[in-house]
Structures are given as structure tokens and as C-alpha cells.
Amino acid sequence: MKIKSLAASVALTVGATGFSMAAWAEDPIKVGILHSLSGTMAISESTLKDTMLMLIEEQNAKGGLLGRELEPVVVDPASNWPLFAEKARELLAKEKVDVIFGNWTSVSRKSVLPVVEELNGLLFYPVQYEGEESSENVFYTGAAPNQQAIPAVDYLMNEIGVERWVLAGTDYVYPRTTNKILETYLKDHGVAAEDIMINYTPFGHSNWQSIVSDIKAFGSQGKKTAVVSTINGDANVPFYRELGNQGIAASDIPVVAFSVGEQELSGIDTAPLVGHLAAWNYFMSVDADANYDFIDKWVAYKGDENAVTNDPMEAHYIGFNMWLEAVKKAGTTDVDAVKDAIIGVAVPNLTGGYATMMPNHHITKPVLIGEIQDNGQFSVVWETPSTVAGDAWSDFLPGSRDLISDWRKPLSCGNYNVVEKSCGGAEKVASN
């Protein structure tokens, strides 16, 4: 199967190159792909590399961009954060790519950030993250906390009537920041401190027995309890397995997760998890023609009938199409021109609506709450009535409350303090 699809793609590439010799007028436009293909993050990131290759192949078949061929440049930062910076430098300085699609973890993004800013590159970042950042050179196509965590908590509070909260997360920056935001948000909504339990576990934690048993005890105090999980990656599988083994059903204590998608569920028997929740901006099960078309293409590209799609893939789909539109609008791939042109660009998303690039380099997204089904898919039980614009600076953290980001001229500032009326509040946030 693998070999066959490899041969097919080789044949396709050869065909495409042959065709290009005749048709492409100028040099190709280079698209950098900065995703780990080895190391711990390969599990999540290698799929995104394939998504980008598929999108580029498809665009070339449609005639490329500005009459020029798109050429993917794939590098492997090997889940090694400092290597991300080096590879980004290689892409921008040596390969002279016009745009980069890449990164998954926040720490890798932070490592790439100074390089992209120094060499004036463009980076599209497709994963949900903790916010508190806005760079002139980065476009955040994943969800900010107000596009995922806050609506999910709203849903539990208003629709399910949850009164006691367990905030469980992996011990690193994204869960810690998100939980800090959520804690303030819950307390603002009248939740007492003793009704919030916060728990952190190391990466790849596999022995969940006592934590799950604690959650069970915490949830048997007569108030409806829910777990808000920012547990990362594959630590989720043993966590859910333990929930099932200790007999915690979703109707007793629902778990809403921000990092569990179709990809993670494909490695697990989902029968005991039916009814647990996840909050995303896209699910593979969304009933929209754009989504079905995308799935058909993805299945054909992978040559695997069971290939799944997920939220960060949709983010790349949106980001890539936004960049295409912006380049067409600007008539050039020049970074400064594209940066100005892309603000306000709206492209279809996969859930039947449109995504617009906001002046703060975040995009508008619908927020969906889905329940896990026995086939490893989610069924949407709730969605926001309209799309939500991403907020770079959270309204629920001291210091970041007064900041806004607007990269349009003449403000052109990522952290404008509306109280002090000055740009550059980031240092204050960092010291908080």
C-alpha cells in the first residue's frame, strides 16, 4: 500500500515537473514546510507536512500562483526546539522561501520567532495556543484561548450546569497559561476556590490511577463536576483508559479536552469514552460539502481509506488559501506587501463558513463542542452562533487585559496599551 502510493506520488511529481518545463514561465515560488518528521512530535506534525504537500500539489494542478509553480521545501527540525530556529534560518536565508508553514508546540514557535522577525519572513502557525503573543511576521490560524477554552467552559457552565471544576494539564506553558486564564474566568463567574482543583502531570504520563481516583472523589461531593483537560498528546490515551477502567462515564463526570482530536483517538478503543467532549474549530464529522470534498482528497492522497483529518489540518488549509489570496491581491510574494494585503482576506473554511484574517493576525473561527463517538469521531452537540475573532491578549490575565494588537498602519503594533496609549507593553506582561 505504502509503496504503491509512493510510486504514485513519484509518478505524479515527475509528470508535474515535465508539465512545468513547458508551462511555468518564471522561477518557482518556494513554500517552506517546518514540521518535525522525527522525534516525539512526529506523531502530530508529519500529518501537517503531508497536508501542505497535498495543498501545494493541488494548487499546481490548478495552474500555480501568479503563473508560477509552487515548490515545497521540506525540512525536518526533529522535535528539537533549538533546531527549529536553525532550520527556519536555513529556509529563509539559504532556500529563500517566500512563506513558511510550520511548528506545533509553543516552545518551538518561540524559538523560531526571533529568526522570522530578524529575516522578515512569513510564518503560518496552525495549532491552538495560549495567546499572549502577536508578531508582525506570524499569522496564527489555530485557536486563541477565547476561541476554544472559554466557549467550552461556557458550554459546561450554562448547558450542563457544572459547578465544580478540575483543570488537568500537562506541565508546560500552554496548559499553565490556559488554566490561569480559566481560573480567573471561573472565579469571575462566582466559582469558589474550593470548587476548583488544578493538577499538572509530566509529558507522557502513563500512570493515572491515583489522579483519576482523586477526580472521582472530587466529583462525588454532590455538585456536578467536569474535567477541563489540557493534557497533551499521547498521555491522553492512558488517561481515558483509566477513566474507563475506574467506571467514570461521561454522564457522571464529563471531560472536555482541548488537545484530543481524531488523530489521538485513532490510537485507542473509544467505546468507554463515548460522550466525553472536545472543543475545536473543526471536526472531521462536520456535515459540510467543503469538508466531504477535503476528506475525499485526503483519503485519495494518503491512499488509506481510514485516514483521518483534524483541526490543525483545517488551519493549514485556511492559512494556505489566505496566503494565496493575499499574494494574488498584492500581485507579488514580497513579504511586506503580502502582510498588508492579507488583513481582511476571507476564505472558506471546512465547516461551511468563512474565515477572515483580523488586524491582530488571528482569524475568525466557529467554536464547536463535540462528543466522542464509538467510531473515533466526534458528534457536534453545540456551536457558537457565529464565528469568534481570535484575541491575542487575554481579557482574563492582569497586564494583558489592556493590550490590543493591530498591525494595520499607522498603529502597526502588536501590544498597544490602551490605557497608557503606548506601544510595547509586552515587557510588562512578561514580568508578571
Binding site: L37, S38, T40, A42, I43, S46, E159, I160, D171, N199, Y200, T201, G204, H205, S206, N207, Q209, S210, I211, S213, D214, K216, G219, S220, Q221, G222, D234, V237, P238, R241, E242, G244, N245, Q246, G247, A250, S251, D252, P254, Q263, S266, G267, I268, D269, P272, V274, G275, D287, D289, Y292, D296, V299, N306, E371, Q373, D374, N375, S379, V380, V381
Partner: protein, 534 residues
Amino acid sequence: MSIPRSLSQLLIVCLLSLLALAPARADDAQAQALLEQLADAPYAQKGRIIGEIAGSGDERARQWLEAFANGKLARVEASGQFVIVLENRGRNWTVADALSGETIGEISRRDLDSLRINNALRGELDGILSVIDLTVADVGKRLAAARDLRGGVDAGSFERIGTLLSAEENPDVRAALEEALAIYRVEALGDIAAVAVLAGSLNTAARAALTGAARSDNAQLAAAANRALESIDQKLKLNNAAKTLYFGISLGSVLVLAAIGLAITFGVMGVINMAHGELIMLGAYTTWGMQQLLPGQPGLALVLSIPAGFMVAALAGIAIERTVIQHLKGRPLETLLATFGISLILQQLVRTVISPLNRSVVTPEWMSGSIMINEALSLTLNRLYIIGFALVVFAGLMLIMRKTRLGLEVRAVTQNRAMARSMGIKATRVDILTFALGSGVAGLAGVALSQITNVGPNLGQNYIIDSFMVVVFGGVGNLWGTLVAGLSLGTINQLLEPWAGAVLAKILVLVFIILFIQKRPRGLFPQKGRAAEG
């Protein structure tokens, strides 16, 4: 179930010639109308329609509601026909007509509208289905239904359950039903008499009801509830201590399994093998491979993986020993670096050849779930099996080292290589066999770990540090030390975790080991005699 259904179909076919199907059609029309209401109503009203369907007296009602609860009731977009989804993987789903029960075949997911359900509705449905189940003949089913009803009784079902209780004969089912009714009476009616029924109950719904009652304005009720809660808390304390101990032993047994192979290669042979974790990973992947070879028989596959996992890891171990380790004898630093390289190579090999994604290993029926000692204390089965497996592997290894010729030769070669060779022992052969044995045991650990953790390329990395920790703490070269060290580190970790958190507990355990090694550099059970000086 299926026999009476097909019988009734046969009957309908017979009637068809005589009565032109009129009654059946009227039935179907009503059913179609109800299902349409169910599909189109907003969530808030679906509960009422579910009640109507359950009360319609249609014998297919249970089947529809069950399909609905599982998210398997769907409507064909074009025709409005209701179908039950039989197979919902991939892009095309196999469906059967909801009214006639006939299998239609595959329909593209594009053309189907699944009827959405959420947790609140599922809870309501479970209550209705449980009440229906209370009337079946099978005692086990009735008992399960009665237990599920605890905390699930509402105003609508209260009367009906009361009637069913008076007709019930089985004492266990009666007790569960009484408890279910008492919970409702305490929660909704504030009935003091019902508090007595719940005293001593370890059920979480019962405790939740009592906690609620203890906060009530009715002083008498609150006092009674508080007394009941106290007696429950007493019982819970004891159970919690037992639970922590079980968690500790179970984590300990995992540590022992992961470390015991290393106790042979590192402890006995003195080879620092950083690729030990990847040998564990190979064992886990063997389990996955076996399950791919024997689809539909996860249990058999798992049992067969025990010898297969051992062989695969042992062969890999032999290959590593022959190609790398034998050339680096007596150079521990180089061995460490070389085996670390091997571990990276093996990881990337798995990523490239199989997939960077985790593989799903199915847990067989007999290993999932838990044994319930009482409501508050249940022992998860997979962990219980692993504790047993760890002990069997340990006993097996002890037997090999103590009672067989191989064991004797291994001990001889490690204690004094030159002397052993002069006695005619082929030291090279012993090296190979020992390393293969240690590696094979790592493979066994992988088979066990596939049941509790992710099977992915990073599996081994998560266990290599822990393994070295256990071996060093237990005393290098001592199998008993490994057993005691693994179990005690597991228990310490689980004792610390509830109040220190998982991250801090891990750090505290490491600090403890560092201090301990300062005091006793050779671990818990140091080697004695001449071998210790070597």
C-alpha cells in the same frame, strides 16, 4: 430477540396476501412520524418525544432508542427514510432500514443525517432503557439496570419503579432498587426515613444525595444526613488506604517488569544498555503485529505475543550484542554512547517503517473493566493481570538463574571470567545467551505495557530512566533487589502523588534515591564477596 422478530415478519408476509398490509402500514406511518419529530425537535423537547416513543407500545421502540443513544439512528437526506447504522467507519456506512429492519447496504456519509444526541439526553435515555430492562427475565441484566438507576430516578419513573420493586423477588435487585428510590426521596423529597437506607452505602450518587441533604435548611434532615455521612467516611478511609496500596503495587509491578531485563544485562553482565527501552518497544509492537495477524481475537493474539515478543526482542538483543557490544567490552562510556545511538536508530526505524503515529492495541474483553470489591474499591483488571505477570516473570527468571546450567554459567562468568573459561565454559556463548535473556524479558515487559500505555516509537524512552533507577536502587546484580526496589518506589510514588502532585512526586522520588545512593552506594542489597570488588 431476532427469532420472534423474523417470526413476526413471516406472519406479516402471510397476512399480506389476505389483508393487503393495511395495519402494518398504519403502524409504520405513526413510527415514521414519531421519528421525524425526534429528528427535527430541538434538544429541549427531545426528552418528551423519547417518552412518547417509549410509551408508544411499538416493539421496535427499544431498538430505535438504543440506536439513538449510541448515535446510530440516521435519516437519509434525499428520501427521509430512517435507518440504523450498523457499521460507521470510513466514508461509507452500512445501514439497515429502521422500520423494516432490512439491511440496505452502504450509503455515503454525505447522504446521511445522523440524529444528534448529547449527554443530558443520553442520561435520560439510559434511565428509560434501564426501566425497560427491569422487566426482563435475566437476573444479571435486571441487577445491572437497577444499579444504573441509582441517581437516575426522576419524577416520571419513581412510581413505576416502586411498582416494579414490589414485584421483584431477587434480594440484590431489591436492595439496589431500594437504594435508587431512597436517593430520589432524599434528594427531591427531603425524606428523613430514606436517609437510613443510605447510611453505609458507598455509592457515589448516594453520597452526593446525602451531601446535598446535609446542607439543607431542615435541621433534622441535615443532622441525620451528617450522621450517615460520618459512617460512610469511616468506611471510605479504610478503602482509600487499600486503594493507594493497590495503586502502588501496580505501578511497582510495571517498574519491576521494565527493569528486570536490565537487571540481567546491566546488573549481572555490567553492560550499560541504553537501547533497553527500545527492546521493550519491540515487544509492544510485536503485540500489535500479532493482533493484526489475528483480527477479531485480541485475547489469543495477546497470549501468543508473550512467546513472540520474547523471541523478537531476544533476537534483536543478540544482533545488538554481536554487532556492537562485544567489541566494546570493558569500555562502559563507549557502550553507553553506542547503545544510545542504537536506541535512536530503532526509534526512527519504527517511525519510518511502521508509522510515527501510535498504534492501537486492543485490550481483550477479559482484561478490561475492574473487579468490584465494594462500591468504593475496585481493582482494575488490566493492572491486576500485570501484577500477576510481573511476579510470574520474576519467578521464572529466578528459577533460570538459580536452578539451570545457564544460570550457573552466567554467575560463574560474571564473577570470574578467566577462571570460568579455564573451567571450560564458553564465555562468548554465555554472553550471547545472557544478553538474549535480558532482552527477551524486556520484550515481555513490552507485551504487558501495550495494555496500559501507548504503543508508539517513544514508548521505550519513558521507561529507560525508571529502569536504571530501579536497578541502581535495588543493588546492581541482585534480582531480589530489583523486585523490592520496584515495588517500594512504586508505592512511595503513589503515596506522595495525592498531596504533592505527579510532577513533584517524581522529583521527590529522585531526590530520595540520590540521598540514598550517597549513603549506600551499592543499593538496597549490595553484592557481597569477591564479585563486589570487580
